[in-house]
Amino acid sequence: MAACPDQEERLDLHAAGALEDVEVVTLVQHLEGCEGCRGAFTASVELLALMALPPTTAQEQAELEELPRRTLSEWRRAARRQDLDLRTLGALVATAAAVTVVLLVPSMWRLPGQDAPPPPTSAAATTAPLGEEPDAETMAAFEAWAGLEPLDMIEDSDSWDDDLGFDSGETL
């Protein structure tokens, strides 16, 4: 004999102990007079018992006890690793910026009204040929720019978080 279709869901919820008290009273009264629903309810209880996992073992309990300590250690280790990565990135960005400045500043280091650079003197031409180290004035300008603490700039930026590919489980 089969269960009543309008009671199916309640039977499963009751077997799982999730039915409201008021509904339990009504359902129990129904079960007393319905053999089909009693059979279905018994089947649900049996199924839930079969799917239940065994009690936790001593080894599992030990793993559970250890969890707070080991998880905190791993968090700290990951934080140190991330900090190191960011600093390395910052150093690389600073180096790249320095190279860019060295390459671009000589052509941009002109006062307003100076449309063309002064003709190189013969001495300058002999002491600072193209491709060699820039003069002291250019280096001073670069050093002033490079004193902007690039590591702090990197650490304060949130933009790096976009690239870490973090999966928060949203695709479940």
Partner: protein
């Protein structure tokens, strides 16, 4: 500094709070406290949820160490998610930590089972001593029951995702349907319907008679 909360939104962050205060603090306040440098808040957070998460992931693993690794990863990812939310948006914004934690744990466990077992779940095997001793039950009966348990547990993992999640959150995690609904972002009624469908499907798959007319 004390933890204050208004309408479920954390409006002030504790830097150093008393142990008793931590025990009573909501998850989101503990997250913030830990991220602000309070290690004890982290311990409270892990102790509060470790049994739930461990219960959920052990269905998908064969070794206790794997379950512990998955729980650890879930906590770390949930904390990282909280950190990013706090950093990016309003400092008073709610961060549903437990919902994130559970969903991340289920996702990690599912991936673990897929990668390690090719979706051929061996699961937490019942030891001979785990089987309930019934004097009236013969050795043959016990073996048959163990085989049925193995079959049913395997079929649970073969359920459609939503049905499996609802079923395991109820059976393994012991969550109320209201909490299941909140965790999975579905309605409570939907959660109950999914649970019923999961039961119905399992009965059909493992040979328990269906209850329809």
């Amino acid at each position: 500094m004390s933890i204050r909360e208004t309408g479920g939104r954390v409006v002030s962050l504790p830097v150093r709070v008393a142990r008793a205060g931590l025990e009573r603090a909501p998850d989101e306040a503990l997250c913030r406290a830990f991220l602000d440098g309070e290690p004890a808040a982290f311990e409270v957070l892990v102790r509060r949820h470790r049994t739930l998460v461990f219960s959920l992931v052990r269905r998908y693993v064969t070794r206790p160490e794997d379950a512990a690794d998955l729980v650890q990863s879930a906590f770390l990812r949930a904390l990282e998610a909280s950190r990013r939310v706090f950093a990016r948006f309003s400092p008073s914004g709610p961060a549903p930590f437990r919902a994130w934690l559970v969903r991340i744990a289920l996702n990690l466990a599912k991936n673990h089972a897929r990668q390690g077992q090719r979706w051929r779940p061996v699961l937490v095997a019942a030891e001979p001593g785990d089987l309930a001793e019934d004097p009236a039950e013969s050795a043959q009966d016990r073996l048959e029951r163990a085989e049925r348990e193995r079959h049913v547990r395997a079929e649970v993992l073969a359920l459609p995702r939503r049905q499996r999640e609802v079923l395991t959150l109820r059976v393994d995690g012991g969550l109320a349907f209201k909490d299941i609904a909140e965790t999975l972002r579905i309605t409570e009624n939907n959660a109950k319907v999914q649970f019923h469908h999961a039961m119905k499907r399992l009965k059909a798959r493992v040979g328990v008679p269906e209850e329809t007319h």
